[in-house]
């Protein structure tokens, strides 16, 4: 009987038993996990949050509980002494708890200082990028919207990274270099379906410096070639191209090319700092996103956050600001009146396209501010209760102001 069990297992597992691998010590496999359940609602009817570009989560006056809820498992298996395979599988509530691989990579540890990862991993854009979804690891209910929604939900890439980590006296330095590509969908405009995106030649570096455990400084710079389709600018671009052919005027083709996102260079820069001193916690980040030769806004955003620990409680106040502006030159490239001679019908066509372009460019504009109040309570070492009240204001008339109240529980194991 004792020997029948493995035989039965073999039958069940089929081919796996035919070529038995060298005995693998499954005790060395580490399984960890984290997750959160968050509910929220805006406080006024017909008001949404956020009202700007990134509906990664979208709240309205009817309470929702799945928007930011998630559950994740991480499995890490040592393959050799220096090689480890890791996968992080995350189910997102706003995606009907469909599972996706957020991280899936092999890590090679050259020595105590150098390591390299090959596979799917996080783009280290922000201070909290690496553990964006690990709610227990940061004080807020959600990372400050003003800064963290500037990249349209772009958080993973497939490629390689090289990491170095070394201490010099009381300084600990962690530079990271990445190269890779992302193809998938991103949110680039308000109230539209996600855009099809191809981000090629994504290259960049970040540097994290920690001094004596209390002072953290961080900087990052990234560049890539961006191609985007399925956006509100598509019909305008197509119309302009048609016009160029019809009228034989290359000026419209130029305007089309300057609006479209077709292999255009995009750069991203980040500066951040976190100070934990006595019972105080201070965090700040500043980012600049620049997009060349297309309709996507150049964005500058920052936040400052200050909190203080009272035993297991951590209240925190955060002020954030996001400014997005498009080049006024772009609209100027579409003349009010076509260059003569032109058929009478063309005039209406040009004005319609100009209005279309103006609307798309206006939707990219942001002058938004966020006041965010958070309270975190550590229920246990690995469980935190969190509540957040955010009040959002925009001086762009097309955007509502709104107030969002949300609360949740975050955990890790």
């Amino acid at each position: 009987m004792k020997y029948m069990l493995p035989a039965a297992l073999c039958t069940a597992l089929g081919a796996a038993c035919l070529a038995p691998a060298q005995a693998y010590d499954f005790n060395s496999v580490r399984i960890n996990g984290f997750g959160q359940v968050v509910g929220g609602s805006t406080l006024d009817n017909n008001r949404q949050y956020p009202t700007n570009s990134v509906p990664l989560y979208a709240y309205d006056a009817d309470p929702k509980f799945g928007e930011e809820s998630l559950f994740a498992l991480q499995v890490s298996a040592p393959l050799t002494d220096k090689l480890t395979a890791t996968a992080q599988i995350v189910s997102h509530g706003n995606d009907n708890f469909k599972t996706t691989f957020e991280w899936a990579y092999v890590n090679y540890q050259f020595n105590s200082d150098w390591s390299a990862k090959l596979g799917r991993q996080r783009v280290p854009f922000f201070y909290f990028s690496d553990y964006l979804e690990v709610g227990v690891a940061y004080p807020w209910l959600r990372t400050p919207t003003a800064v963290y929604n500037t990249v349209g939900g772009f958080s993973n890439f497939d490629g390689a990274s090289v990491n170095y980590s070394h201490s010099f006296g009381k300084w600990e330095l962690d530079p990271q270099f990445i190269y890779g590509r992302y193809t998938g969908t991103l949110f680039l405009s308000a109230n539209t379906s996600p855009a099809n995106t191809d981000i090629r030649n994504l290259v960049g570096a970040s540097l994290h410096a920690n001094y004596n455990d209390w002072l953290n400084l961080r900087a990052g710079y990234f560049e890539s070639q961006l191609t985007v389709t399925n956006t509100p600018v598509d019909p305008v671009v197509a119309g302009l191209q048609q016009l160029a052919t019809q009228l034989g005027q290359p000026i419209y083709a130029q305007a089309a090319s300057d609006l479209a996102v077709n292999g255009d260079t995009v750069t991203f820069m980040e500066l951040g700092s976190e100070i934990n001193y006595a019972k105080w916690q201070f965090i700040t980040e500043y980012i600049e996103l620049k997009s060349y030769h297309n309709y996507i806004a150049d964005t500058k955003a920052f936040y400052v956050a200050l909190g203080r620990h009272f035993g297991k409680f951590l209240p925190m106040f955060t002020y954030g600001r996001q400014n997005g502006s498009t080049s006024s030159q772009l609209l100027g490239e579409i003349p009010d009146v076509p260059v003569p001679p032109y058929p009478a019908a063309a005039e209406a066509g040009v004005q319609q396209l100009r209005a279309g372009a103006a609307a798309v460019l206006a939707s990219q504009t942001a002058h938004d501010s966020y006041y965010q109040f958070d309270l975190r309570y550590d229920l246990a070492n690995n469980v935190a209760l969190k509540a957040d009240f955010t009040t959002f204001n925009s001086s762009v008339p097309s955007r509502n102001s709104s107030n969002l109240l949300s609360a949740g529980i975050a955990f890790s194991f």
Partner: protein, 134 residues
Amino acid sequence: MKHMIMFGLLGLVAAQAQAGAVIVAKDSPLGPMDAEEVKKVFLGREPQLSGQTLTVVYQGEGAPRTDFETKVLGKTGADLSGYWSKLIFTGKAQAPVEAGGDLGVKTKVGSTPGAVGYVTDGAVDASVKVLFKY
């Protein structure tokens, strides 16, 4: 008064019992460490030492663990748990292994190449090598 002295003595005994040692297997190539080095190892910042991939062994919840964390690591509770979350879920370090009590740690250290753990002083015996005392 007599009782007070008794309590005082008990206090001393208790304080002594809480002193501890960082240990590895007897035949480990690792040598003595200073407080800074121990801190680095147990905070996952030293994935390899002397060419060996380290496995960090924490004790289960209890006085020896709290004692080690407050005396040596300077981080404990939710603070330490959050710290590890950052390392584990970003692939910056392998999660530490947890072993139950002094005996569990000694067994783990003895059976796992590259394992480093900590035990209370009284549990130190010939099967292990002490790298640091606290």
